[in-house]
Symmetry: C3
Subunit: 355 residues, 3 copies
């Protein structure tokens, strides 16, 4: 982003981020017996932020939420930033969650991170969109410990008769070097720029009345443990290993609907994990560095069959998270719902820009 100073204290910053990809899925065409052929602008973000007063900032980001929709408000945050240890954000923001949610798509290690079930604020819009929701978050760091805890609207309507709030928290401990990101956000690789990193994170979310229909109300709670290890080798190469394990407890799911019909806000019940290992070559190839990776995901709902997905991919890193290309190949039946889909292979080519 470009920072524009108004005076000694006040500034505005303007930036943008773009992710576009071509994706082809086996048997993915409407006919069911041809590969799909899809170009898509997956994200087109405008980043506005600013400082109004020594302790007062704001962030306003937009994205094209849900493929080819209009420009939507992604983040809209009134920020009271008091110290490294204590800050208060109000507005629409990321609900504290697991690492791949705190990365967003732009700071992930792989192109297609979201093949596991996600927390409610990333479940189609009724409880927030793209991991964001309206609420309040306290966050900060004390030494190598980081925290973010918040209260949010969560699901409104459906089974939430008494307008109960969603509570969300994330706690992380940096065993080696400290990760360096804005606020409570994360990245799943620093391309070796921070040296050796080993961080363990724990997140949880819970809300009463968060699942089910107006007629039959149920609850939701879940937690995730995530781990990031990045090792800068003497050769200049970088080894990155990332893993998450999540366990969700939802009273109503897509496989266990409330009786009596009516719209259900249904979540995943069960557990899920993924592991990714990546290797960033030390030497440049052309204008960038190659970073091949493998990733394995397994989703295990309590009320349906397991599913899994294996990915192999290659990042071509021109300028960190600001300019990279990706090729990804996957095979399996796991997807974001947590329930088995078609067991197919797919590949994508992606382009990511940020400024």
């Amino acid at each position: 982003g470009k920072r524009l100073d108004l005076d000694d204290t006040r500034w505005i910053s303007v930036g943008a981020g773009l992710r576009a990809a071509y994706t082809s899925v086996e048997d993915g065409a409407p006919s069911g017996d041809a590969r799909s052929n899809d170009f898509d602008v997956q994200n087109m973000r405008l980043y506005f932020s600013g400082q109004l007063h020594e302790n007062i900032k704001f962030t306003f980001n937009t994205d094209e939420i849900f493929s080819d929709g209009p420009v939507d408000v992604l983040d809209a945050i009134a920020q009271f930033e008091f110290s490294k240890g204590f800050n208060l954000w109000v507005g629409r923001m990321l609900t504290p969650a697991d690492r791949i949610e705190m990365n967003g798509p732009f700071y992930g290690l792989t192109w297609n991170q979201y093949t596991q079930p996600l927390y409610p604020s990333d479940q189609g819009g009724a409880a927030g969109t793209y991991g964001r929701d309206d609420g309040i978050t306290l966050w900060g760091a004390a030494g190598k410990f980081q925290y973010a805890i918040g209260a949010f609207d969560g699901v409104q309507g459906f089974g939430n008769h008494d307008d109960e709030l969603l509570f969300a928290g994330r706690f992380a401990y940096n065993f080696l070097n400290m990760e360096d990101n804005p606020a409570y956000y994360t990245s799943s690789t620093y391309y070796g720029g921070l040296g050796n990193v080993l961080t363990l994170g724990l997140s949880f979310q819970s809300q009463s009345g968060a699942t089910g229909s107006f007629a039959e109300s149920g609850d939701f709670s879940g937690y995730t443990v995530d781990l990031l290890s990045e090792t800068a080798l003497d050769s200049g190469a970088v080894v990155t290993v990332e893993a998450e394990y999540k366990d969700f407890d939802a009273d109503f799911t897509l496989a266990t609907l409330p009786a009596g019909g009516g719209g259900c806000f249904c979540l995943f019940d069960g557990d899920s994990y993924f592991v990714t290992a990546a290797y960033l070559f030390a030497q440049e190839t052309g204008v960038g560095k190659l970073q091949p990776y493998v990733r394995v995901v397994e989703n295990s709902p309590t009320d349906a069959a397991d599913s899994d997905l294996t990915e192999v991919g290659l990042n071509y890193v021109i300028s960190g998270h600001n300019a990279r290309l990706n090729f990804n190949y996957s095979s399996g039946d796991a997807n974001i719902t947590g329930y088995p889909g078609a067991d197919v292979d797919s590949f994508s080519f992606g382009v990511q820009w940020q400024i």
Copy 2:
């Protein structure tokens, strides 16, 4: 906003405004017997404006119109600005109206100004949104007299068979110091910055075919008298009194629907007033000044029962309209429809930033 010069004549300015609040309404949860709990980004505005030529400017503002919707065009104005006395705006802009509409939410004295029935351009979208509509406005000032008159699309469809235009005007006289706002916009407090202010405003709007259904067409006309008095005391404290009285004449209302069904664009018929009194303390408390206020609203439709609302609130003014916090408590049954709602109490905490 930050002004960016292209050359001696041309410039672009970029700014932003954010209002976020937590609101809790007695019995407001879906169950009807618990308080509601709602965080909301009420406004997230981007402000773009610029000058292309000595007499040619533009304004383009966006907001998230109607809670959690996409980013929408709020204002889009091609501006011919000839002199203090004569200017012509074309595009989407505020229809000349009463003071609280010309304030918008960011320049009001209280957080929740809109508890009275409003003119058609602030009635859900069929005749404009957020007080704006597509049309043309002539505006200017002569001495202490200010005027704005315009023609707009107003309601399209419904009972407006012959595509009649909406006519709107606002006239104000500044008895003491001149108010200082862009164009024909207003503020309901200057925090004493302009000294003593006493301004009387008169606005009207009318459109043939503006109410009713396609089968049964009716008209609309209305006027509002508004008064602002701000007195800067010797102590440095500031006393602000604001009042409006409006009288609307609508052939079809929510209580008097057209026969034969079909969609109705229905407005309020009757009168309504509010009075607000505020006191800004001279001394700072922490980084801001306290401004307690009381406000009383009464809506009296001709075809339904009266309703009223009493509010007590506190602004914490850090940097005028650019950084302030608000706590508001209200009790009563009056609301924006003009018809009685549930007789409940509610409170809100709000944060407002602008740059």
Copy 3:
């Protein structure tokens, strides 16, 4: 736009464009026997672009797509720009097409260019919007020859069972001076600024399964020849002549629907042409120059009657495509569908700003 440098290589640019008009159509009111009266913000564009790396740029433009809708993504392009002769764009962008599509509304010669049937990416949204679609384009120039060829999603669903791509291309030869526009974009007048111009363009688009319904699938292919001649006279006046001829072959049209019902993505089948002649006076009148024009359009579907439209208009050119006013009068029954509409007269006053 204003260019903001981040360092020697990287920059962001911010700009805006606004077109607003009043239009009145004979018998155009809902009653059918009064003139319509419509103000409209036809376009409100924000222009963001930037360079991240020597060969890497991006463009992100928004518009209010389809009257009074939200702010939408217009263009979102990841740009690899290698040389004058070879460039690769990925994302959402103009599908290579005829000149009036490559102009967009801001760089046309006349206010209401789109009274002919258009390619699929400008047909209501199912195959792209406002001439844009998600895909990939190769473009460049070799001497006086310009090319742009691309592959796009085109229609998805409907009769496109196998997710076939849309292929599009545009080739132009500049016989006299070279036209000067970004990438493969065009303008239909340079107000004499480029001297004498004579350019012949040929565009085509085709997609299998691009017309019809899911039950009955058909194809689409079409081509357009366009010509622009601009002559700068010794007097300082400028004569501009523009013409297009297009021939579309669609298996299903609005007049030849697929059997069995179901939603149809129907296109025009037949041919169409327009010719425009304009004269820009050398001398200034006030702060601008007058440019009267006449335009004739004829649409000839194979499966319905012909229609035509005659326009006379006047541009008042204050600052080229950045500040101009327009008055346009038209009479006839031709319109963007290609099928005859009501035979009426209409007039519009328009204002166009860009920075």
